[in-house]
């Protein structure tokens, strides 16, 4: 049987969910017997291959035009998309920004922060355009939501193991943790 191809990428997040993915420890050896990690932000190949993968994993929320494109690219290149962690599932910490207007958020971040002197809001036209922060599911269709900040390594392993064994993972009990 051909190996299941898995790719991951991150959007507006903190990389914590990928750290939790690594926390599956030696179980990754078993996993890699049945799955191929084609590309991740923490390996050499960063982008999902053009020929597509079976499972795509996205960490973080969509907060600008760049992360929106990353989300759309992953969706177009994977069969099953997993939203990993509270930011991807609910919006999480980045979505706190939505409660203040964009201008105020930028001013606070680039000018008013205590460590900033002579700050200026970046205005290079090549920069991504900011958007209201959204969970991945609001931008592209998501097949499996794995909430948690971060989701536990056990929950991530459970999801991937179920998928490589050809089942749709069901999250409940100890695998479902929203905080």
């Amino acid at each position: 049987m051909a190996k299941v191809k898995v790719a991951s990428d991150w959007l507006a997040g903190c990389a914590g969910c990928h750290m939790s993915l690594l926390d599956i420890d030696e179980r990754i050896v078993d996993l890699l017997k049945a799955a191929d990690l084609t590309s991740t932000p923490i390996t050499d190949l960063k982008h999902p291959p053009a020929e597509g993968v079976d499972v795509g994993i996205l960490e973080g929320a969509v907060n600008n035009s760049a992360t929106e494109r990353v989300a759309q690219l992953m969706r177009s290149r994977c069969k099953i998309l997993i939203a990993l962690g509270d930011c991807a599932v609910f919006g999480g910490v980045p979505a706190l920004r939505n409660r203040v207007c964009m201008k105020e958020a930028l001013r606070r971040a680039y000018i008013e922060t205590e460590s900033t002197t002579d700050g200026a809001i970046p205005s290079d036209p090549e920069l991504a355009t900011m958007q209201e922060c959204r969970p991945v599911g609001d931008v592209v269709e998501v097949d499996i939501h794995v909430p948690g900040c971060p989701p536990s390594a056990d929950a991530i392993f459970h999801v991937l193991k179920e998928l490589v064994e050809g089942r749709k993972p069901v999250l409940n009990g100890k695998f479902l943790d929203w905080h």
């Binding site: 409660r99 209201e132 609001d138 929203w178």
Partner: protein, 615 residues
């Protein structure tokens, strides 16, 4: 909630199980009596069901659609199914809508936890129904505010699910009518009074709403983030704040008092006042852990041995000693103190620091819940809304339930606005200038007033008279002569002043060259102590008293005490310790016992228990 006088058995079937339920019950009540769990959010067994949240929907044969279990009355031959594909789908959809209405970011909420540890009933149901995400993303644009204008607890509208438990608790349990709803539809929001900030409202911070809130919308400022319920130890105890003696649930962790809730099982029926619920966990002055002695004008630590020797030596040199005790101590401690004063100090100058106990023998004593069902409530003197707050709340509840309230006083009180009739008391005492002048005041109700009271009590079926101290003997005689159906509640001031009164200890002027002050965890309120040359203070906290003392002995705080107190219902209530005293500290009566031995007299433990048994 069902309080039908005569109930008959009704045969119903829930989930294929034949049950015998009581007529008047709802499906929810019948199911929970049979141990069948139906999820609910707006329903609380202590509140009138409202059927608002639709989490408890069940399938009932011959009924259209799904029906809410919390409001649907049972009937003979009823067939109910609580867990079907239909109910699950409906409940999941309801949860999706609830989560989408506000910004329920669990990760920022003190109630949030895992499936096992969460304190949030909404999150628990989210786990139960396997919700992995929100079907509809909340509208961030709705900036649901946090109202932190009250001193003890905050309201985060983002975490509110509009179950209205708080509104019902405020209206029907606390009878304060502060909470309501502002706006309509998706803009609906819990509000105080005419939509003012909670801190500027008529809220009395009794915290009943906080106790029934199913989510983290109402969060205790001090207790939030300190522990999940699963990490707390829950002990049923008694509040030592005033003579009402409310039942409490003390929630502790690592020998710290984290939170206090009103007990639903005792006569206060879940109610507490701000003092009993919140002030008890506020920071306290420095604790006294070792005996202290005055040396060169400063209080310095010494061993218990040396402190006792010093006290014994000094007390023996004095001609007279007076003893004053806090009325917040247990019967056992007060009895030991009284015995210590009489037998060891050989003085009759022994009294309470403060406290007022009217005559306790006027007639049948009432219990607190009698106020809820009374049809006539007479309040003579005192100010229960200020001095015994839970009593005040229950009087208001009685008034809501249609009781005629008669307020008899020499001045205006908070109860006046609930009074159907207001009668004036005359001050018939002579002006006196002693510091105990207050204790000497006597009030009188004129015969015309007494006649009115008598007529009101006779016309009523369940009359209750609450009465204060310092009435003229004519008034007490008139009350004693009321019909036997009248129940009485004395407006006792001082937590265990009634217990002390049964021992013969009252607040009265005492004098002596020496003063032994058994303060417990009481703090000075500015009232001057009697003049003295030498003072021993047995206290839990550093205060102006201990700074003025010659010798200080450590004492226990209220959550550490064990014994009994007598409340204003004249019930002898066991005091259960909820915290372990700091290492090396002993009960107050044990300290007195050790001191008596040092003074050459043995107060045996048996003798003290014998005394307490006579209480």
């Amino acid at each position: 909630m069902s309080a039908t006088a005569t109930t008959t058995t009704v045969n119903i079937t829930i989930n294929g199980k034949a049950l015998q339920a009581q007529s008047g019950q709802t499906v929810m009540e019948a199911a929970s009596a049979a141990g069948i769990d139906i999820p609910a959010l707006c329903n609380d067994p202590h509140l009138r069901p409202e059927g608002g949240c639709r989490m408890c929907v069940v399938e009932i044969d011959k009924q259209r659609g799904l029906q809410p279990a919390c409001t649907f009355p049972i009937f003979e031959g009823m067939v109910v199914r609580t867990e079907t594909e239909k109910t699950t789908a409906s409940r999941k959809q309801t949860l999706q809508m609830l989560f989408s209405e506000r910004n329920h970011y669990c990760m920022f909420c003190p109630a949030s936890g895992s499936e096992q540890t969460t304190d949030c009933e909404l999150q628990r149901l989210g786990y139960r129904y396997g919700l992995t995400h929100w079907q509809y993303t909340p509208k961030y644009a709705n900036d649901w505010a946090v109202d932190a204008t009250r001193p003890y607890f905050v309201m985060d509208h983002s975490r509110c699910i509009l179950c209205r438990r708080c509104v019902r608790a405020c209206n029907t349990i606390a009878a304060n009518h502060t909470l309501g709803l502002a706006q309509r539809g998706a803009q609906s929001r819990i509000c105080a009074d005419d939509d003012v900030q909670f801190g500027a409202s008529t809220c009395v911070s009794c915290g009943t709403c906080l106790q029934v809130c199913p989510t983290g919308a109402l969060a205790d400022r001090r207790g939030a983030y300190m522990a999940h319920e699963t990490e707390l130890t829950r002990t049923s105890a008694v509040c030592m704040g005033c003579a009402v003696g409310c039942g409490i649930e003390a929630l502790t962790r690592d020998n710290q008092l984290i939170r206090v809730e009103g007990s639903w099982k005792t006569t206060n029926g879940g109610l507490l006042c701000a003092t009993g619920r919140f002030d008890v966990v506020e920071p306290k002055p420095q604790r006294i852990l070792t005996p202290l002695v005055r040396q060169d004008g400063r209080m310095v630590e010494i061993t218990a041995e040396k402190a006792m020797t010093h006290i014994a030596q000094r007390l023996r040199q004095l001609n007279s000693v007076a003893g004053l005790a806090s009325p917040r101590l247990t019967n056992e401690t007060l009895a030991a103190f009284q015995c210590f004063c009489h037998e060891v100090l050989e003085t009759n100058e022994v009294g309470l620091l403060y406290g007022e106990v009217p005559p306790l023998d006027l007639g049948k004593p009432a219990v607190l819940q009698d106020l809820v069902t009374a049809d006539c409530i007479v309040v003579i003197g005192g100010d229960p809304l200020e001095r015994q707050k839970v009593l005040g709340f229950l009087i208001k509840r009685g008034s809501d339930n249609g009781a005629k309230v008669i307020v008899v006083n020499d001045r205006g009180t908070g109860l006046d606005r609930y009074a159907h009739t207001r009668l004036d008391l005359q001050d018939i005492s002579h002006a006196a200038e002693s510091p105990f002048e207050r204790l000497r005041r006597t009030y009188h109700l004129r015969v015309s007033g007494v006649t009115q009271l008598k007529a009101a009590c006779e016309a009523a079926q369940r009359p209750i008279v609450l009465y204060s101290t310092r009435m003229s003997t004519t008034v007490y005689a008139a009350l004693r002569a009321l019909q036997p159906k009248v129940k009485f509640l004395p407006l006792v001031e001082g937590t265990n002043a009634a217990g002390a009164a049964k021992l013969g200890m009252t607040a009265r002027p005492v004098s002596g060259q020496g003063l032994y002050l058994l303060a417990g965890d009481d703090l000075p309120d500015g009232t001057p102590l009697p003049a003295h040359q030498f003072m021993v203070v047995q206290a839990a906290y550093r205060s102006a008293w201990t700074e003025a003392a010659d010798v200080v002995l450590p004492s226990l705080t209220w959550p550490e005490r064990k014994g009994h107190v007598v409340n204003l219902e004249e019930r002898n209530i066991p005091v259960v310790p909820v915290l372990t005293p700091p290492k090396g500290l002993q009960a107050d009566w044990e300290t007195l016992l050790a001191l008596s031995v040092r003074m050459g007299y043995t107060l045996s433990y048996q003798e003290i228990t014998e005394i307490s048994m006579t209480v």
